[in-house]
Every structure is written in C-alpha cells, then in structure tokens.
C-alpha cells in the first residue's frame, strides 16, 4: 500500500526546535488530520514534505506518484474570473488537461447538489469572491486533479458551514477512491469527526489518535478543546 512515512524528523527554526524525533504515517485511502497550536510547525512540516524546506534530521519518504499541496496563502490575479484562475491552477497542478466538466463530475459524485454553486463561482470575478469562496473553489478543484497524495493546510479556515460540509464530503469521497489526504485544522471537532486518524503536535512530536475518547483521556480533558489546550500547554521536551 502507498504511504507517506516520516521517521524521526528533526527540524529547527533559528534557535527554536520545532520537531524532535517526530514520526508520522499517512496511508492511501485515508484522511489523516493534523492538530497543533499556532506556531507549532504544521505549515513548516508540510513544507518539509513538499521539499520547500530542508529538515535537520530524520527521513521523509513516500511512494505516491502525484503530490498536491494547498497552502494557507491563496492569491489569485484579481483581474481574472475564476475559470481563468482554474486554468492557471491546472497548468501548475495537473499533468493532463482538466476541464470544468471533469471537475464537476468528480465533485458532484462526492457531494451531490454542489455543482450549481461551483458553476456560480466559476464565472465570478476573482476580486469579488470572498476568501471562503476561494478556499472552497481551490480545495475542490485541486481534489479533481488525479493526485494520490493531497496535503491541505487549514482548508476550512474562514469557510462557512455549508462550504465546510461540502469540503469534507469531497475529502471523504476522494479518500474512498484511494487518495491519501493529510489535512490540518484548528477545529478539533471536525478533525476528530472526519479523519480516519489524527496527530496532535505536542512537545515537538506527533502523537497519534483514532478517536475522541483516546484524545481526551490522553490529555486529561473533559472536552476536545480542553484536551487540545492541555496538549498545547505541555512543556517542551
């Protein structure tokens, strides 16, 4: 089975240690969540996996054929309509031509009833789209590319509940077709609800969980947020 394996990762930023012998695995056909407080190194970790940042030690290996990464920053030329943004995105992300039809077929299958909203944004001027609309459009369009490892850095940040619902439906649909999804979020509840497994970034390591109970009992919290706060406030090793 295809997988991403991170073994004994060490990463420093100036004098600040982000990761100290951190290990993680992401498997094909699964959604793996990543939780961690602001500044804990989630984006830096994604940058390492994508080769944008060099690590100080350890191994990162994956057997996937096509990796796609949607970073937190999404900037589109304001003068363009979203269909031109789509064309530009596909020129960078896809090895084969991807049409609106292709994208719609996929996302409509994963989350029925979504096509009309997608078409509306498709024709909208980029400068008139809200941040949430852009994130939603980008995430779904990216999922329609034939990638087998998709990394999403907080795809639901700033997105309303309806669009968030469709994003998770599409992530689940893509995973059901064998795509490995690695996704970060600050919303503990959505990670616990939708991910097959998830990691809490605490004490410069990845700690793996598969359910809410395990997460709460491990960090001594009566709610998910409380457990998150406890995990985030643990002293560095």
């Amino acid at each position: 089975m295809k997988r991403l394996l991170v073994d004994e990762l060490n990463l420093r930023y100036a004098q600040h240690v982000l990761f100290n012998s951190a290990s993680l695995a992401v498997e094909a056909g699964a959604i793996t969540g990543l939780l961690g407080p602001n500044g804990s190194g989630k984006t830096s970790f994604f940058d390492v996996v994508c080769g944008l940042k060099k690590m100080n030690g350890g191994k990162v290996h994956h057997s996937f054929s096509k990796l796609l990464y949607l970073s937190q920053i999404i900037a589109t030329p304001p003068i363009f309509r979203m269909f031109d943004v789509f064309k530009m995105m596909m020129l960078f992300c896809s090895d084969t031509p991807i049409t609106q039809r292709h994208a719609l077929d996929k996302i409509e299958k994963w989350s029925p009833g979504i096509a009309e909203r997608y078409r509306e944004i498709w024709a909208k001027k980029s400068s008139l789209c809200s941040y949430g609309e852009k994130r939603w459009f980008f995430t779904l369009s990216l999922l329609s590319v034939n990638a087998d490892l998709v990394i999403l850095d907080e795809p639901t940040a700033g997105v309303d509940p309806e669009f968030r619902y469709h994003i998770w439906r599409c992530l689940e649909g893509a995973a059901a077709e064998g795509v490995a999804v690695l996704v970060s979020s600050h919303n503990v509840d959505e990670i616990v609800t939708h991910c097959d497994d998830f990691y809490m970034l605490s004490q410069q390591r990845f700690n793996r969980f598969t359910d809410a109970e395990g997460f709460m009992s491990s960090y001594g919290g009566s709610t998910l947020d409380e457990a998150f706060i406890h995990a985030a406030s643990l002293p560095r090793i």
């Binding site: 920053i73 363009f80 530009m88």
Partner: protein, 247 residues
Amino acid sequence: MYIYPLSKPILLSVLFVKEQLKEPVAVLWIVISPAVTFYLISYARISGEEATRDYASATSWFYAFISSSVALFGLAFYIVGRRESGFLRSFVYTRRTKLTFLVGQFLAYSFMSVIYCSVFYVLTRGYFGSMAMEEWIIIVGRFYMCFLLFSTPSLLLTLLPIGFQNTNTLFSMISVGMLALGIGSLNTSHPVLNVIGIFNPMEWANRIMTMGVFESAPVVAVVVGLISVTGWLVFRFLLINPVWSRY
C-alpha cells in the same frame, strides 16, 4: 498527451498576456509616456531638424528606455508581485512548476516587448516619413535584443529578498539612473562617466538600436550568454515565499 506538458508554458503565457491586456493603464503608460516625451522634446527644439534626422538615431534612446521598462517593470516586477502576493507560494514549489512559471512569464513578456516596440514605432515613425515593414522588422529585432540585455539584471534583482514597494522604488531608481548616466555621457569626455558608460546597459542598448544586431555582435554574444546563465540562476534560486512571510 505528451504535448500538454510541453505546451504548458505557452498556455500560461497566454493567460499572463491576457492579464496584462486587462490592465491597460500600465500597458499604455509604459508606451505612451516615452512617445509623449519624444514629441515634447521634438517640439522644444522648434527648428524641426529632428524630422530630418535618421529615425533610428533620433529614437534609439527611447527604444532603449522602453525595453528597460518592459524588462524591469514587466518581466521582473511581476515575478516579485506574484511572489509577494503569495501566488508562487500557492502553486510554484516544484522544479517542474518553477520551470513552467519562468518560461511562461518570459514568453509573455517577449510577446509584450514586441507589442510595446510596435506601438512606439507606429506612434513616432510618421513624424519622419512613411512606415516600412522591413524597417519595422529590423527595429523589432534590435528592440528584442535590448529586452534580453535588460532582462539579465532585472531577473537577478528578483532574487533580492525585498518587498513589493521597495522593489518598485529600486527599479525606478535603476531605470532613471541608467538613462541619466547614458544621456549625461553623450556630450562629455569626463573619464568617470566614460568608465560608467562601459557598464551601463542603457548605453549598450542604445548602441544596439543605432548600429544593429549583427553590427553589435560582441555585445549580442555577451547578452545571449548572460541571459542563459541568468535563466539557470533564477530557476535555481527563485524565491517562493513572500518576504513578509515568516516562512
């Protein structure tokens, strides 16, 4: 299917040109302002002797200046702009996408340079007599070589970790500085200005515009060599993260 990856830079350049043409103010300003300046200078000379001069020598500084503007404020400034807006961070993070982006950007501004040159030719040639296709082709060839000449320093400047506003200021200073030093050295034999002139790309460009591509073979050889090395350097060291970002 094998054609698609190879055609990506061309398809991307079409989108970049479309983006440029949808912002006509910047396009017009780069080409209209030198044309207006040209006519103002000609008008100030009153005698009308400008019209009796050879077209190439009368306009060479203007073409040199426009080509520098296309390289600095088109080709290079848009790379900085795309970096600082986070566009590169979003999509251009592999060797393949960096190559697609850089080739697409270069093709787009190669095309735009021909457009800028042609519009200036149409706006000014009538003052000296009728236009000629053969002359236009020669001038476009010379102009494109000047564009390549200015592309080398312009692209190297994109590797500096400075923000959008500071880049704009730096490019403006360089542009005006090159022009002032070039014109300033015309009627002087001061040794310092002569030495500076050797390293001033604006003087090289002026020489290419007046003498021609084949007649400036040594300069052209240096230009082609430098742009090849620069292309590799920019590909290798292209800054992806915005300067304002902590990453």
